[in-house]
Symmetry: C2
Subunit: 599 residues, 2 copies
């Protein structure tokens, strides 16, 4: 069986649960029908399984090395990215007007996710390039686009995002990289950037860095940040690569996971002038950088989700083929051993993974669908509502999988026991890879502050109202199926708890204290949203069962069981968390640094 | 500050909370007073910090290699173990009659924990040797002891435990290693053992394996297992090392953590005869192997705890020295950044670590104290009660830290952000090291079955009654301090929930279903026990505060805050879990292997 995708479930999520078929009726996607999309998935799956997945462990064990100022990477990385390029996959996220495939974002996410699951470290190079190209396309001048974009779209040159600095990780307001305007309108860039994934390598002839920097005299803080395009090598007017632009690799970071992606400390303008090109307006850098932020954050959530999908599928396959022990009531050691998938706790560990992974997958595709719906809608009010919903869900999309799909990876290791803890099996690598996702693209805490301090309040709670309306619509559908009505009632009750929790917290006098447990709110809110996603899936499964196709019976029963699991085992935990958040507890908030250990 | 031990807290736990001073009054420990023990701690801490800790990262990055049939390990490992040996520390766990230091087990655990925290991989070699020697001392014949024990006690020869086989991990009943009796009373051993930590290396001239095997004709299952001493090299009658005993290293496993400890697949009797010596009676192997099981399992729990202590102390130090961002209400980017220990969510992450780590530490020392009390008691009824309490607490001691102190390590990474995810900082290594502890010495699920299927029932619930009596006594003490009475009431209520949960579950018709959520019961029961440990600490802190020594004020306030945190943020989660367990839910239990993904 495949350990990077469950195609039956992908169909179920995209078509039966989230209505991709009706999306395909929009003129924007008229080039595609299910057969065409299946063919794209077939192609992606085969490249991911045959070219990306086989060397994931080898790459993890042979991370890029910094030798004589250059990066050495095992050759399979380039071969894999060449295969991706030759299949035309670099073009999947773009619109037709620039030669892109103009796929629904749901489909783009789905095919990308196969590469992430197969070999996260390699897929990073492609996705960073697509992100940088999208930003350039959205905000750059025609001249800049003409010069740099075609090679990026073709996957000939890779791209990066350069935000953090050693002294400014989460606090972009404090970046120091300087951009001084030259007479010809270009800028001289000086400074140091940290944590730059794909920041240097020899995989492509050029690397296009999208760099945040400050122009002298700009306003303090984030209002004074501008965005620059900084190529590794200068590009001549004829489009050919010129001399070095003096972006110096100062060192590689050595991570716990994602070991195949170079992660760099870069110095700009140290060994000679580094030239940058302004992208968008002066001091508009943060807005420009955040242009693709919802997509990027859903991308992180999707990565966290499918890294756990890999662990789930692998551990399921293992559990169904590994004999060990006997049923509890069988005390005869001379009877044959049973497969460990027969043991109750292994079932619970598998079910927990299923509930987390398939619940999160549904949310990722739901959010991608919102992006698609926003694009095809010509009703401004509908667009606004969809945008509000997307804004509210984005911190959950990014954060919930980071937390709970990491937990799923932990369970995959447990199922393999001692084997799972070794590098001879993939599950520990997936666990290591997944631990990053709480940290980048905004830490877990930052998303807590975002949702609780901003998103639930925007437009006087309109986003939350939009969400509630969607949830109530699913509950209404569920009420038509006897087996789901209790879940619907539980979900409705939990929505009310969200509301009362926010009301309680709003009465706090100290705004900082009110947000002190925002991370707990974020996690619990995520549980409510995932419970909704499970109810959506349960409705689809009931419909599927009603069609009576025998081959699908076990599949749909599994969906209904996973929904039930989420409502009985998981949702009550969220209620318990909301009760805590509602109390605006100050136990941690009031603690001084001395009180932790007494000195 | 030290990042392997908080000596102020160690004093607080051992003396102020758990009464080590009164234990030292027993004749068994008359050689020791607090000054003597402080000197032992000073010595241990300095060797752990100066010799073990400095190369922990280097060892992790340079794991032992299998070259030409031999194991190559970086030289610092031997140097560190030599320093441990020369300081006489191999002798800490033994009684005076065999030349041991006859320390209280609490003290032995405390000093060992410093080495675990400093460099887990290296400490493993010492502790495995001490475990094997203890087993030989407890169960071996005088002849065997005379031949092998002195060199093990001196740390000249190391020891291992050989239980698992490739086809029999958790299911010892299915081991196949064979022991055929020879005419001279010795045994010929053939078979393969898996996951043998310290199973081969060149650190010592000999390795003494304690091996489980079956004598042909023995009863099936665990009743037919015997224990054998199998040296790597034969030992002549004059005590000198003879020829090879044909224990062949078939390969090394490459783990996610614990990378400095060799972990081996060993073949016995493949390349020539392997001779074993029966330890204890035929078919008594499991009982003999389990002789030191409570100690070993508390040792695993202690390891899980102090690996998290290392993360806690490191991340606390980092948070107090890393400037980043500003208070939420300060919107002026030109004001200086604050230390991240000022941010509410960082405080919460630190407090969670403190509550888990110091709660677990208290339990580990409490359990060690039980071992000490059992040894010094001459009242058989008291001994029985203490033994029951120890039996009940052992699965919690082993499992709770494995689960929750791993979570603490996860939080330490989060505090360091991107830095925490790199191998340039120790917190990711600690996280990787800690993930093993759910798996070895009985998996998490096995301990769930142990506590819920056996321990709560033994002697008609006498162990649970003994626990309740102890808990109620702490609640009684707490009631004398106004600030603690609510916690006492909450703890008392949770004890009742344990009882009602067990009553509900006992009504289940299917005994397998009744235990299907045993792991959840184990975790929740652990929370109740840790809540009790926090109440014990809070009582001690209140007493401490009442003495009015100003230097300790912040320390005691931190203890009271951590207790409050545990009761407000953690204990309610356990109640929620008990409610689930009480329902004897069959959602996972009834699932078939096909239903997970539909095929």
């Amino acid at each position: 069986m495949s350990t990077i995708v469950n195609r039956r479930d992908l169909d179920f999520l995209l078509y039966e649960t989230l209505g991709l078929d009706s999306l395909l009726e929009a003129p924007r996607f008229s080039d595609y029908d299910k057969d065409a999309i299946d063919a794209i998935f077939d192609l992606s799956q085969s490249i991911a399984e045959e070219v990306f997945q086989p060397f994931a462990a080898q790459l993890d064990d042979n991370e890029p090395k910094y030798i004589d100022g250059k990066v050495e990477i095992i050759p399979q990385v380039r071969e894999a990215l060449d295969a991706y390029k030759e299949a035309g996959l670099f073009m999947t996220p773009y619109d037709a007007d620039i030669g892109g495939m103009q796929l629904p974002w749901m489909v783009h996410q789905a095919l990308n996710s196969m590469f992430v699951c197969a070999n996260t470290s390699v897929s990073n190079y492609a996705f960073l390039t697509q992100g940088a190209a999208n930003m350039l396309h959205a905000c750059g001048s025609k001249e800049l686009q003409d010069k740099f974009l075609p090679n990026m779209l073709a996957g000939e040159w890779f791209g990066t995002m350069c935000l953090s600095e050693p002294q400014a990780g989460s606090s972009l307001s404090d970046i120091r990289t300087k951009a001084e305007k030259l007479d010809d309108g270009r800028y001289k860039i000086t400074g140091t950037k940290m944590w730059i994934s794909g920041g240097d390598h020899e995989l492509t002839d050029n690397i296009i860095h999208m760099v945040l920097a400050k122009i002298p005299g700009a306003p303090p803080g984030v209002k004074g940040i501008s965005l620059f395009l900084v190529p590794k090598n200068n590009v001549n007017d004829d489009g050919r690569i010129g001399d070095s632009n003096n972006v110096a690799l100062a060192g590689l970071n050595h991570k716990m996971g994602h070991r195949g992606t170079t992660n760099c400390l870069l110095n700009f303008g140290e060994s000679g002038d580094t030239i940058g090109y302004l992208v968008g307006g002066e001091n508009q850098g943060l807005a420009n950088m955040f242009h693709m932020m919802n997509e990027a954050r859903i991308g992180v959530g999707m990565a966290a989700t499918v890294i756990a999908l890999g662990g789930y599928l692998y551990s399921l396959d293992y559990a169904r083929n590994r004999p060990q022990g006997r049923h509890l009531t069988n005390k005869d050691p001379e009877t044959p051993m049973v497969m460990i998938s027969e043991h109750a706790d292994v079932k619970r560990l598998l079910m927990t993974q299923k509930a987390y992974v398939e619940g999160a997958l549904a949310l990722m595709y739901y959010a991608a669908n919102l992006l698609d719906q926003i694009k095809i809608s010509d009703d401004q009010q509908e667009k606004n509502t969809l945008n509000l919903l997307l804004e509210l869900l984005t911190p959950i999309c990014k954060s919930w999988p980071s937390e709970f799909c990491l937990e799923a990876n932990k369970h995959a290791i447990q199922i393999l026991g001692g084997y799972g803890y070794t590098r001879e099996y993939p599950v520990e690598r997936l666990y290591r890879d997944n631990r990053l996702n709480h940290i980048h693209e905004g830490t877990h805490a930052i998303h807590g502050l975002d949702i609780m301090g901003r998103k639930v309040r925007i437009a006087d709670g309109a986003a939350l109202k939009a969400l509630a309306a969607q949830v109530m619509s699913t509950i209404e559908q569920a009420s038509q199926w006897g087996g789901l009505s209790q879940h619907g009632q539980d979900l409705s009750a939990s929505l009310k708890v969200v509301q009362t929790t926010l009301e309680s917290v709003s009465k706090a006098n100290d705004p900082s204290l009110a947000l002190a447990n925002a991370t707990l709110f974020l996690d619990a809110m995520g549980h409510v949203v995932i419970a909704w996603m499970w109810l959506k899936q349960a409705v689809a499964a009931q419909k599927g069962l009603a069609t009576g196709i025998p081959a699908d019976k076990a599949f749909y029963e599994g969906k209904l069981a996973a929904c039930q699991f989420f409502y009985r085992y998981e949702l009550p935990k969220a209620i318990c968390q909301f009760e805590l958040v509602a109390k605006v507890d100050d136990t941690c908030f009031n603690l001084t640094a001395e009180q932790f250990i007494g000195t």
